[in-house]
Amino acid sequence: EDNQHTFDDEAGPLTLNAFDLIILSQGLNLSALFDRRQDYGKLQNRFLSRKPANVILSSMEVVAQSMGFKTHIRNYKMRVEGPNANKTSHLTIMLQIFEVAPSIFMVELERSAGDTSEYNKFVNNYCSKLDDIIWKVSAEKGKSRTSRLSKR
């Protein structure tokens, strides 16, 4: 069941427009006003990748499983679940791959269930193992290196 990926059709990940991206901002999430959590930490994370979507998906699946989590995939959405580090509670994370531009993808991670600090620990650990698919764009060539040096 875990190894069966269901794809509804030939289409790739959902494409996001500028506004789909804009509404991801924490500044537009007013539900936080009603949040009485004391454990302040993020509940959502995202990163970019230039790998093909199916490569992103399988890398994420392999890493999650190697960390001892169960995975369930449908189209380009993955649910990761398992017990936390000391087995005291359950953690569920949803991951989804989107296309933002041709060959540029964004992975959105969101805590679905579990402690905020456990979720944040998971994300740090998980993303450190996904180094080869995460696209960390260094400053644009020809620009920032010189400007960084001139700032003292």
Partner: protein, 216 residues
């Protein structure tokens, strides 16, 4: 209309400028009286977090939203829209009236209106391409992501070819409504399902609607 419980309200107004009685605010919004009372509990917490003056400052709003002081163009814009009287602070009546738009049972038309004003940062009556670019760059920066200017422009090209029907480089109110009807997920930020549960999340200490001493 009339004055509900005038002495209690007058007392509350001294401590919370701009305060309106919950029955008054409930009659003007989708909220029930007990929901307005619950919102008042929330308002008291937020408005007292930095300076206990019964008003929400921009800093207090940021603290409530991000749990830390953070300058975010979207939160600042929302604050400005909540601050109807343009005084740099949000009073309780402003707070309830503004949150009303996010209530699940408020018509989509009002939500579309608010979202249009939200993105029309310079109040020209149009959502201009440069405004969308600015917002997109802010989102990327906030998320720790970077894209080349070329890629950002291509995202804007696609968005505008879809939304800007008359291709004049800006999105007008009608185009926005049309675009949103084809992309309904864009409106999910305009509804706070939590608003239906506020009486349990923020229990007020008033056990009936006869508010004699709402100021504690």
């Amino acid at each position: 209309m009339g004055c509900f419980h005038s002495t209690a309200t007058a007392r509350a107004r001294r401590r919370y400028p701009g305060y309106d009685h919950p029955m008054q605010l409930a009659s003007q919004t989708a909220f029930s009286v007990s929901e307005v009372e619950a919102l008042f509990e929330l308002f008291k917490t937020i408005s007292g977090s930095v300076v206990d003056d019964g008003l929400i400052s921009k800093e207090e709003f940021q603290l409530a939203l991000f749990k830390s002081k953070m300058d975010n163009i979207f939160a600042n814009r929302i604050f400005d829209l909540f601050d109807v009287k343009k005084r740099g602070v949000i009073d309780f009546a402003d707070f309830v009236q503004a949150l009303n738009v996010f209530h699940p049972s408020v018509p989509m038309e009002e939500k579309i209106d608010f979202s249009f004003k939200l993105y029309d940062m310079d109040n020209t009556g149009f959502i201009e391409r440069k405004e969308v670019k600015q917002m997109l760059i802010a989102l990327l920066s906030e998320s720790g992501m970077r894209l080349s200017d070329e890629t950002i422009e291509s995202i804007l090209d696609k968005t505008f070819s879809d939304a800007d029907v008359n291709q004049d480089g800006k999105i007008d109110r009608a185009e926005w409504e049309n675009f949103v009807s084809r992309n309904p997920s864009l409106m999910k930020i305009m509804t706070l399902p939590y608003l239906k549960d506020i009486t349990t999340t923020f229990p007020s200490f008033v056990f009936n609607s006869k508010v004699d001493d709402i100021v504690t």
